[in-house]
């Protein structure tokens, strides 16, 4: 089949960017979407043109590295699937597809379809862990965990950190991502000691990064490739309220200086030129 692509081209974080049209004439239905882009890029390289930059690594839907909008939908039309796991059999001959990077002020575009998602790491760094030094753990079966709790924890822990929830949210909130980690640890006994502080620290960090407020529209759940449910957000909100009322807000420590994000590195390396 033949596919027409309108792809966002942007050389670097400072370039204003624009769409550019490409034709891919011989698309096989068994190709993954990214393999189709590989074919396009190979063609561009042989013509001496700049290939389209996009992120990917595992190409099996688990690392969370890939992701862009296809006709406005995060990860494309297939439910519960990343774009690397979306195959061309879900499209038809003659389709015109518009590919854009995640759009959110907390995710600056680095190039073409690649964005900087390091804000998500900083949300985890703010409190998405249990404080256990290597070697200090008790025997694993000493604390029994009811299977339903372990299963619930696993469901929330399945988040791949792709950022599609943010990209699809009209408020660009990171609530599904943040809630998933809070719910994962909150379902387990090991997550209890730091539960209150975690809720405050992670949500505050999300706001500091410029992610918006959640108004429970639910687009995030619809696009999430890992099937994370909206209920993680209500758990987060409950923990947050309990923690605020419990006076935990004062105990939360602010983060030490974190390394510059990828986009900041670009601006440091290329400061804006002074007007003559």
């Amino acid at each position: 089949m033949r596919i027409t692509l309108d792809i966002w081209r942007q050389k670097n974080p400072r370039d204003p960017g624009r769409f550019e049209r490409f034709e891919v004439p011989n698309v096989n239905e068994h190709m993954s979407f990214l393999e189709m882009l590989d074919v396009l890029n190979q063609q561009l390289v042989s013509e001496g043109k700049e290939p389209v930059a996009f992120d990917s690594d595992c190409r099996e839907g688990i690392c969370g590295m890939c992701g862009f909008l296809i006709n406005g939908e995060a990860h494309g039309p297939l439910r519960n699937a990343t774009v690397c796991q979306t195959h061309m059999r879900h499209f038809k001959d003659g389709d015109v597809l518009r590919l854009e990077p995640w759009r959110a002020s907390a995710f600056p575009v680095l190039r073409d379809l690649i964005v900087d998602r390091s804000a998500l790491d900083r949300i985890i760094a703010a409190g998405g862990y249990t404080s256990t030094r290597a070697g200090s753990a008790a025997e694993a079966n000493q604390i029994l965990i009811p299977k339903p709790s372990a299963d619930k924890a696993m469901e929330a822990a399945a988040c791949i950190g792709c950022g599609a929830c943010v990209a699809s949210c009209p408020n660009a909130a990171a609530a599904l991502f943040t809630g998933a980690k809070i719910a994962h640890l909150g379902h387990l006994p090991q997550g209890q000691p730091e539960r209150m502080g975690r809720a405050i620290a992670m949500t505050s960090q999300a706001h500091a990064e410029g992610f918006g407020h959640c108004t429970t529209i639910g687009e995030c759940e619809a696009v999430c490739p890992a099937g994370i449910k909206l209920e993680v957000i209500s758990r987060m909100n409950k923990d947050f309220i309990k923690a605020t009322l419990g006076g935990y807000a004062n105990e939360v420590q602010t983060l030490a200086a974190l390394p510059p994000s990828a986009a900041m590195r670009f601006f440091e390396a290329e400061p804006p030129k002074k007007e003559p």
Binding site: D121, G135, A150
Partner: protein, 637 residues
């Protein structure tokens, strides 16, 4: 030159305890004055960086992805082994040790493997404390399953996403240290060169993948945990970005490369669907617990699988290996799949596939239980192939999956270059000629949480190295080499992408140095690889410039290194005139087609020394001594 692995003396059960006592300690107040570079954020690198940070060292941690959580450990599905013996089925440290040595076809170092088995239980404790949501029984205790090559149930798992959950545990521990200021994280940053001063590893040259800037970091010790080199075959179950550059650069700077030819071909992967194929996807081996592998009895039987009656099916693994059946180790299962396909009995496009059938398990256990166990794998299979394994059997075929070889390390996981430590899949240490399922995750975390934090400390405490900074001439030289290499790649101006040329290399490697190797095929590979490498430097085109985000350039650099490594792999396969584990030389097989080892002549680790591109490398040997396990012909019948 025979190599010394510095194995502590004494009985095997006491070696690690003794070593831990003998290792020198760094004064806690001085720890922050030592700087350790950790390249890699997978299970090995992530766990090592977090643990070294917890101890108080200044840690610089690097990965080429956009966040440490995307290291390819994330993709491991099936599980992690540990000698917890929760099932009361006769497991023990001793048995895990024995299974690993036997599974590795008696080509691993006993002392390392024993230590691995010994610390395995601590890993599970650690991960549970981190909140890793392992599968549980209704009573709340941890659940287990069995995996290939073992008769006990010792594999811990988190749905079909065990690697993801273990990695997130390590990543979260790491982020905690980032917040605490002990670990500095460098993402989208690729190690391009190792800096060696007075024979010691003292730093790395990196490329900022966002700006293209080349810069250097110096340190008191360098840990490489950069994963495996399976992508030398182009198609493998590794991630698109997995590469050998870090270890290859270290090898070129003097670190020995051990057993490069020990590569594992995994029996259960989704077959290739076309020329555009960019990678192969693994279907977890855990499926072999409930799936039955078969092909039609008659060659050329083109009926759809569900129309082939029982009497016309050959469940060949159950037939040939009655004891282990579908759970025969990977190398053996892969080779048998190749055999039946060579006999014209393969299924699917091109006859390169065998069935993995769940029909009986669905009948026995019901859909609900099966989906609980394998739901995400079934979905993944359907997404990729468009076929639903609830209705038709899966089609699977072997694919390159794991590399047992890697940089040579001693008992302390230090290479022959002082100050250069290597952990996880990047080293050669624990799996011999074949790795058992669920043992790589165990090894990565053992190295990262429980071995490197001790042994790196010992190296630092012994001191003897001068303070230095990036103005050192060795740093400038290393940077110059990197810049020259980039310039060379940018200036070729051919017509082909690195990917295209890599694919050609992969084909040579798969055909000549894949599941079955012969003297002829290897000699052939050794004659065509240098030719193709020459073409690479004539036909390559890298668009754009070096001073920007440039994925073509990243790829070209990695492929250039694969071209050199490929040759070493073939040299190694050619010198090893025996079959063992994943290395199958057609000339050396038993009368019933099993791998025929030659213990008298080849019970050694082959540790190669780099002598220049196109120059025959020098072979150093570390003799393997088996004091605790009796060498035997491996049998899974």
């Amino acid at each position: 030159m025979p190599l010394d692995a510095h194995i502590p003396s004494g009985p095997i059960e006491q070696k690690w305890q003794k070593q831990k006592f003998d290792l020198k300690l760094v004064n806690p107040a001085n720890k922050r004055k030592y700087r350790v570079i950790v390249v890699g954020t997978g299970l090995a690198g992530g766990a090592a960086a977090a643990s070294l940070g917890e101890l108080g060292y200044e840690v610089l941690n690097f990965c080429f992805q956009d966040t440490p959580r995307r290291a390819h450990s994330i993709a491991a599905q099936g599980g992690i082994n540990a000698a917890k013996s929760y099932q009361n089925d006769g497991d023990s440290v001793q048995r895990l040790f024995y299974d690993t040595i036997k599974g590795g076809d008696f080509r691993a170092r006993e002392a390392n493997v024993y230590r691995l088995a010994e610390v395995s239980a601590n890993i599970i404790d650690q991960c549970v404390a981190q909140g890793v949501p392992f599968a549980r029984e209704y009573g709340g205790a941890l659940a287990n399953r069995s995996f290939g090559g073992a008769l006990v149930s010792r594999t811990f798992y988190a749905r079909g996403q065990t690697g993801q959950q273990l990695l997130l545990g390590a990543y979260q521990a790491l982020q905690r240290q980032v917040a605490a200021g002990t670990v500095k994280q460098f993402v989208r940053t690729e190690m391009m060169e190792l800096i060696v001063v007075d024979g010691r590893a003292r730093g790395i040259v990196v490329r900022d993948l966002v700006t293209g800037k080349i810069s250097s970091y110096v340190a008191d010790a360098v840990v490489l945990a950069t994963g495996g080199y399976g992508n030398v075959f182009y198609l493998s179950t590794n991630a698109k970005g997995s590469n050998a550059t870090a270890i290859w650069r270290a090898h070129r700077k003097g670190a020995f490369f051990a057993n490069p030819c020990y590569t594992q071909i995994h029996p259960t992967c989704i077959p290739k669907s076309g020329e555009y194929q960019s990678k192969l996807t693994l279907m977890s081996e855990s499926l072999r617990n409930d799936g039955r592998v078969w092909v039609p009895k008659a060659a050329g039987d083109k009926r759809p699988p569900n129309e082939i009656p029982e009497s016309d099916r050959d469940y060949y693994l159950e037939r040939i290996y009655p004891t282990y059946g579908n759970l025969a180790p990977r190398d053996i299962s892969s080779r048998q799949a190749k055999n039946v396909c060579d006999q014209g009995r393969g299924v699917g496009p091109g006859g390169l596939g065998v069935y993995l059938d769940f029909r009986d398990a669905f009948k026995r256990l019901g859909r609900k239980v099966m989906d609980e166990r394998y739901g995400n794998l079934f979905e993944m299979y359907e997404r990729i192939t468009g076929e639903d394994p609830h209705d038709v059997p899966m089609r699977i075929y072997p694919a390159v999956h794991y590399t047992m070889g890697g940089l040579w390390v001693d008992y302390n996981l230090m290479s022959n270059l002082p100050g250069l430590f290597v952990g996880g899949e990047a080293n050669f240490s624990d799996h011999g000629a074949n790795r058992l399922g669920a043992s790589a995750l165990m090894q990565g975390l053992a190295d990262g949480y429980f071995v490197l934090p001790y042994t790196v400390g010992d190296y630092l405490a012994r001191g003897g190295f001068a303070k230095m900074d990036t103005s050192h001439p060795a740093v400038k030289d290393a940077e110059r080499e990197v810049n020259e290499r980039t310039k060379r790649l940018m200036s070729i101006g051919g017509k082909k992408s690195a990917d295209q040329l890599h694919r050609e290399l992969g084909e040579i490697m798969w055909n000549d140095c894949g599941m079955a190797r012969t003297k002829e095929s290897l000699t052939h590979a050794l004659s065509v690889i240098p030719e193709l490498r020459e073409r690479f430097y004539k036909e390559l085109r890298v668009t754009g410039s070096g001073a920007e985000l440039n994925q073509q350039l990243e790829q070209a650099g990695r492929v250039a290194d694969f071209f050199e490594l490929a040759e070493l792999l073939c040299y190694d396969a050619l010198q090893r005139n025996e079959s063992c584990g994943g290395h199958f030389r057609v000339e050396y097989q038993t009368s019933d087609g099993e791998a025929q080892r030659n213990d008298d002549e080849y019970a050694y680790v082959a540790a190669w020394e780099f002598k220049g591109v196109g120059t025959t490398p020098v072979l150093n040997k570390e003799p393997l001594v088996f004091e605790n396990i009796h060498l035997a012909q491996r049998s899974y019948k």
